[in-house]
């Protein structure tokens, strides 16, 4: 395994995200050993997403509040209209800064700040999406020594996002959704 000591997982997804996440989150056990931070672009039904996944998943799924300490076995979904960042002390920071690449929350913003906090201990996942958010962030995760997993563009609902991430971050590991789940389930179970 490349990640010496995994400490957190970050996930970014856009078009097709609900489907893809439905393959992943319900399979995480209630005592999943890592925190998972997610940015999804959803135009309308914002907080509905959290309700949906919370009901389907064993692991806790919720929208964080500002300065909340980040703990394992919890999935934090960025609230609509806010960027989600990780502070150096590994607490949550939210911000209403301008959108980045037309997105707020922005995947790049989450990935870049998490890369700085977690360094090699970060596993970043880029899923389906129809824009290029996340590519820059994936490169930052990689540069900081973290692991980048990208959903296989050939099988993703929308290939643009995973393809853009691979272009910026050619060393990323390409996996099917199932492969991604297996990888995530293996983390922290040394």
């Amino acid at each position: 395994m490349s990640e010496a000591d995994p400490r957190a997982v970050v996930i970014g997804a856009s078009a097709g995200a609900v489907q893809a996440l439905s393959e992943i989150l319900p399979r995480l056990p209630a005592d999943y050993p890592l925190p998972v931070l997610i940015v999804v672009h959803v135009p309308d039904s914002p907080s509905g997403l959290v309700t949906l996944f919370a009901s389907k998943s064993a692991v806790a799924v919720r929208e964080p509040e500002d300065k909340e300490p980040i703990v394992p076995a919890t999935v934090y979904v960025a609230p609509p209209g806010y960027h989600l960042l990780v502070e150096p002390d590994r607490s949550i920071a939210l911000s209403t800064d301008e959108p980045v690449l037309f997105s707020r929350p922005s995947i790049d913003v989450l990935f870049e700040s998490a890369a700085e906090s977690y360094g090699r201990g970060l596993v970043a996942v880029i899923l389906t999406g129809a824009n290029e958010d996340g590519a820059r962030g994936a490169a930052a995760v990689h540069a900081a020594g973290g692991t980048v997993l990208v959903e296989d563009p050939a099988h993703a609902y929308a290939a643009t996002m995973p393809s853009a991430a691979l272009l910026r971050c050619p060393d990323a590991i390409v996996l099917s959704l199932d492969g991604i789940v297996d990888h995530l389930l293996n983390l922290g179970t040394s």
């Binding site: 509040e65 500002d66 300065k67 960027h83 700040s113």
Partner: protein
């Protein structure tokens, strides 16, 4: 690898020094702002202002006096809206104002008022509820350009559709267009709304209590502070509030992790409206 001994990057050191310089030379104290997002904004400034690195920026900041204003615009986030989060204003109208109505005169403090969107929202709501005449409003911020804009009360017309929708969702009893006239593609808000507004440069980081208020609304400002700084600001609000006074925060902000959590009770939980406890 031990995290504790992971050495600081050169960039981190430079940022620390830049913020120190900004404080010592201009008394703007960003040293305890939430680090991840201030770093982002500083990097953006670096790129767009064309400095080689933060040391070069610091040099320009110390030896000239034009950079500070521009830097301030990067460091303070001016994103706002009228009746932002309509549920908050509805809760203030329906649950808080009935209490405040019993006072012969009122003081309201809008801390971090940005370009005035929140201020005019309150003024309009208080007018609709017949309370504006007996309310003194303090509108404070650290960004002088924002304060000036707040004082002018002029907004681009293309923002008015969203403002109008929010106003209705917030339970507005009048039409927003009653409060502004349009000219040159802009909406100019009625100056009667600010007849009893005191605009003032005030920092939640470095300044002190200045009045006793019945309501403090401080939304999406402390979100940019680290926990220690949040504690300072919340302490300031506690000391500014009269007994049983109200404190309203942004919808993702909370007193849950605050050193002063015990000084407040939750008044409208979902809308982050708190009440100062007795004593």
């Amino acid at each position: 690898m031990s995290e504790a001994v992971r050495s600081e990057s050169v960039e981190d050191i430079e940022i620390q020094l830049l913020l120190e310089a900004l404080y010592r030379r201009y008394h703007y104290d960003f040293r305890h702002y939430a680090r991840a997002s201030i770093k982002r904004r500083l990097r953006q400034a670096l790129e767009q202002l064309g400095f080689k690195n933060f040391s070069a920026m610091q040099q320009a900041l110390l030896h000239g006096d034009t950079l500070v204003t521009r830097l301030l615009d990067y460091l303070t986030v001016q994103v706002s809206e009228m009746f932002r989060d309509p549920g908050y204003f509805r809760a203030v109208r329906e649950k808080v104002l009935p209490h405040l109505r019993t006072y012969p005169s009122l003081k309201l403090w809008i801390a971090g008022c940005s370009q005035g969107e929140e201020l005019y929202s309150f003024a309009i709501m208080l007018h609709e509820e017949g309370l504006l005449d007996r309310t003194l409003i303090y509108a404070t911020d650290i960004n002088p350009a924002a304060l000036e804009a707040a004082q002018a009360g002029v907004y681009a017309l293309d923002r008015l559709a969203a403002f109008t929708r929010n106003h209705q969702l917030a339970g507005g009893k009048s039409s927003l267009s009653d409060y502004y006239t349009t000219a040159y593609g802009r909406a100019v808000f009625d100056k009667a709304l600010r007849a009893q507004v005191v605009f003032s440069d005030h920092s939640l980081v470095t300044d002190a209590v200045f009045a006793e208020c019945q309501f403090v609304s401080c939304r999406n400002v402390m979100i940019y502070f680290d926990r220690q700084l949040q504690d300072r600001a919340v302490g300031l609000f506690r000391d500014s509030l009269s007994r049983r006074g109200f404190l309203g925060l942004g919808s993702k902000e909370t007193l849950r992790f605050s050193a002063h959590a015990d000084a407040f009770s939750e008044f409208v939980r979902e809308e982050k409206i708190y009440q100062r406890r007795d004593g």
